[in-house]
Symmetry: C2
Subunit: 171 residues, 2 copies
DNA sequence: CGTGTTTGGTATAGTGGATAACAATTATCA
DNA sequence: TGATAATTGTTATCCACTATACCAAACACG
């Protein structure tokens, strides 16, 4: 028998509230306590917000952050295969297949059978992919990164990115 | 008819690589290009790494970041109901149910039917929950946050958290 | 040649997050 | 008061993302 990880909700909470503690406002914002000082918490919250903003800015081009990063890598590293691009981005190779299917079906990139190793597919941007990437970069620069820079100040934004990269790399 | 978002993989890439471009090292690390300057990218990467470290540090207590944050909120805000705790953490109420089931089945907290509003469940830490939280805090402080502080310097770590909170709040 | 490895791909499962709907309860207000 | 609306916890789904096992084709290499 397998130990179930799912809820074992049988006895519903029929218990009553014990003591009627001192009257509280009851509608005041909650106290985050040490949560506010936890790096992981603010990190996650900020990441969700930044991705949300990125998505809304990129709405006309219908590119997710992950798709945008793939196109960027293809542009700067033409001729690489799926394994190389995927692993650089921390994407599992099986999960990269559907992602490429999507980009290729939209005509943004192509898989070319490599002449030197017929197992691998060389990835290349199409003209449409390059044009889309140009527009995407402009959107990101004009409406996304600019907004963050306006909020933090450009030097702080750069320092922030540098610290995050260090954490990602060296922790 | 619905427009399918799924892959339309029919024609497999039988095309051949066109020109044999200039010889490349082929095994050099890829160039991240503007990806390295994108806040969203380093943010996501750092978040994954920090959560990974948190999980390994918290391994003996088997607490995820989300569970830890719930316990912290319960401690600092006893007597709040599920909706209040969940919404403060950005958790959808339906998704919070299974999470509470798990914590309650482990004896870390209880749902008490409120005397003032019999719809809602007042959330309280149990003694075991409080004891677990004490141990968890010590682990996080000693092995997690300390490590990040050693990497960045404490003042930088504080500045980092402050900037992230600002982004999460004001972007 | 035969063995082992790599590559892209399939199938599948787990997890996190989002929405619709519902019963019980409370709030609102004519 | 009584009818209607809103809220709370919950269930049932659904979708996106991630992780693992496995496979055939192609390659590496002794």
């Amino acid at each position: 028998m397998v130990i179930s990880k799912s809820p074992a909700r049988k006895a519903k909470p029929v218990r009553m509230q014990p003591k009627a503690a001192a009257e509280m406002p009851a509608d005041a914002p909650l106290d985050l306590g040490e949560l506010a000082d936890l790096l992981g918490y603010s990190l996650k919250r900020a990441q969700l917000r930044v991705f949300e903003d990125f998505l809304s800015v990129m709405n006309p081009l219908q590119l997710t952050p992950a798709q945008f990063s793939v196109l960027l890598l293809m542009e700067k590293n033409p001729g690489r295969n799926q394994t190389e691009i995927a692993s650089t981005l921390g994407i599992q190779r099986p999960n990269f297949v559907a992602m490429l299917d999507s980009l290729e079906s939209r005509g943004l990139c192509v898989r070319l059978r490599s002449v030197s190793d017929r197992r691998s597919h060389v990835l290349m941007l199409t003209d449409k992919g390059r044009a889309t990437l140009v527009r995407a970069k402009k959107l990101v620069a004009a409406k996304h990164e600019t907004r963050i820079s306006a909020l933090l100040g450009e030097s702080n934004r750069v320092a922030l990115v540098r610290m995050l990269a260090k954490v990602a790399r060296e922790l």
